[in-house]
Amino acid sequence: MSARFLTLADAIAEHVHDGACVALEGFTHLIPFAAGHEIIRQRRHDLHLVRMTPDLIYDQMIGMGCARKLTFSWGGNPGVGSLHRLRDAVERRWPAPLQLDEHSHAGMAAAYCAGAARLPFGVLRGYANTDLPAHNPAIRSVQCPYTGETLAAVPAINPDVTLLHAQSADRQGNIALHGIVGAAREAALAAKSLVVTVEELVDNLAPAMNAVLLPHWLVSAVVHCPGGAYPSYAQGHYERDNAFYQQWDAIARDRESFLIWMDRHVLRSVDHRDFLGRLLEDAA
């Protein structure tokens, strides 16, 4: 398998199917907003969404009815408060019920690592004396064959497709990330297919032998998509728009204002460039 260069619309059409298990990763940094918007535009539904920190893009996807299940470990608007669409789905089943597969960060990280290593489960000293295992039957235990100690186990996460945003790709489709990487690499390696939007295409990646890199033969599709992480950020390219995160609280608090915003900015925009243009218009 070698990386193919596609438009975002083609990459989503080809790799994200209704009912699939889909992870958009990136921990605060490099969140694939553009890819998430295209999934909404293509009206995907019944998705099993996976992400440590759902963030605004999952709030949007859940609010637009894309999801039936959410695997996560922290679902808020970082530094601001609630994800209102996520809450509405959980508290009032709007626009649809949302099944929760809830973890801690440590548990979910172990589950991604197990997935990347194609082991069926991950092991950690976690979830001890908490109510989480009682509400999530996927959290089990395993006994150490040396000490007899009981440790927590989590089932491996192996998404049908992982979508990432990264700073750059070369002409072969090798992908380079830098800055905060979260569990992006593990989520990528754990997936059956991998779609990456990038800020820029370069002839040759900067030499950095121990850099975080995804070799082209692990990459299903590469999409050139500048600004693809906005309002999250891409270290070296643009900063996190903290003000947008704060504004989102008001937009998403109310079903109607949410739907109006999504209609104007996501559904009616033809692509991510158009989406960004509409935000620029708002700001003008």
């Binding site: 801690s104 950690l124 000293r125 001890a128 908490t130 989480l132 800055g179 905060i180």
Partner: protein, 261 residues
């Protein structure tokens, strides 16, 4: 006495609990302000670890999120998140973990998951994040939250994070490697666990605050420690540095980010 808000006082009280060189697992909000204040005052070599993977970070302004670019730019290094939880936290490399929550009970157990029942929640909260394992593995934890009878409760709706469980040594018997919540910093003073029962007791009051205010804010009958101390008011220098940090932060966050088009 310098005039300040209770939030400033909490932040300053928390920062004083940290020591130079201590390895601190930092959460967003008040803990992040307290840790950075310590770094800018008496603990210049404090090692700040954020769960986003930034080790030894020295941000000039406070991050809004746990993974702002400022944290990466000023870090000794940035590692993948799974390593933070396995090779650093679980490996016992963290001295102090800072936690917040929506609810705390008298044994320092925390709820940040749900108000009401899990399946039909009254209020769905963000969830666990790093808290359960920070509480398990950090040598000690500090909890920061403002006190009301709705947050300091007799019974949690959901136990997201273990403190001293049912007290009287239950945590130790459970085999938890870390020491548990050694201080709860709230907006009237500090609570600390009783040495035998581990029930949180009033250990210190902000100077000028009375016991009755503390008792009114706590949803269980608050016991007093053998000695109830006084938290000195902020010194002018502490307050100045904290306010400058917040002013820089406000300024930085108000700076409009150009839409990348």
């Amino acid at each position: 006495m310098t005039i300040c808000t209770r939030e400033e006082w909490m932040t300053i009280a928390a920062s004083r609990l940290l020591w130079d060189g201590c390895v601190c697992f930092v959460g967003i909000g008040l803990p992040s302000a307290a840790c950075n204040l310590a770094r800018l005052t008496h603990a210049p070599e404090i090692v700040l670890v954020y769960e986003s993977g930034t080790l030894g970070t020295r941000p000039d302004v406070l991050p809004l999120s746990i993974g702002d670019g400022e944290l990466a730019r000023t870090a000794t290094c940035v590692v993948p998140l799974p390593e933070i939880f396995s090779y650093y936290l679980q490996a016992g490399r963290v001295d102090v973990g800072f936690l917040g929550a929506a609810q705390i009970d008298r044994y320092g157990n925390l709820n940040s998951t749900v108000i009401g029942s899990y399946d039909t929640p009254h209020t769905r909260l963000p969830g666990a994040g790093g808290a359960p394992e920070i509480a398990t593995h950090a040598r000690e934890t500090f909890v920061m939250l403002k006190a009301t009878p709705r947050s300091f409760v007799a019974e949690l709706d959901f136990r997201t994070t273990a403190g001293y469980l049912q007290g009287s040594g239950a945590r130790g018997r459970s085999g938890a490697p870390g020491g548990g919540p050694r201080s709860v910093i709230t907006d009237f003073g500090l609570l600390k666990p009783h040495p035998d029962t581990q029930e949180l007791q009033l250990a210190a009051l902000f100077s000028g605050v009375g016991v009755e205010e503390a008792r009114a804010a706590v949803g269980w009958p608050l016991a007093l420690a053998a000695h109830v101390g006084i938290v000195d008011p902020p010194e002018a220098r502490e307050l100045e540095i904290l306010r400058a940090l917040h002013a820089r932060t406000r300024q930085a966050h108000a700076r409009p980010v150009a839409i990348p088009l």
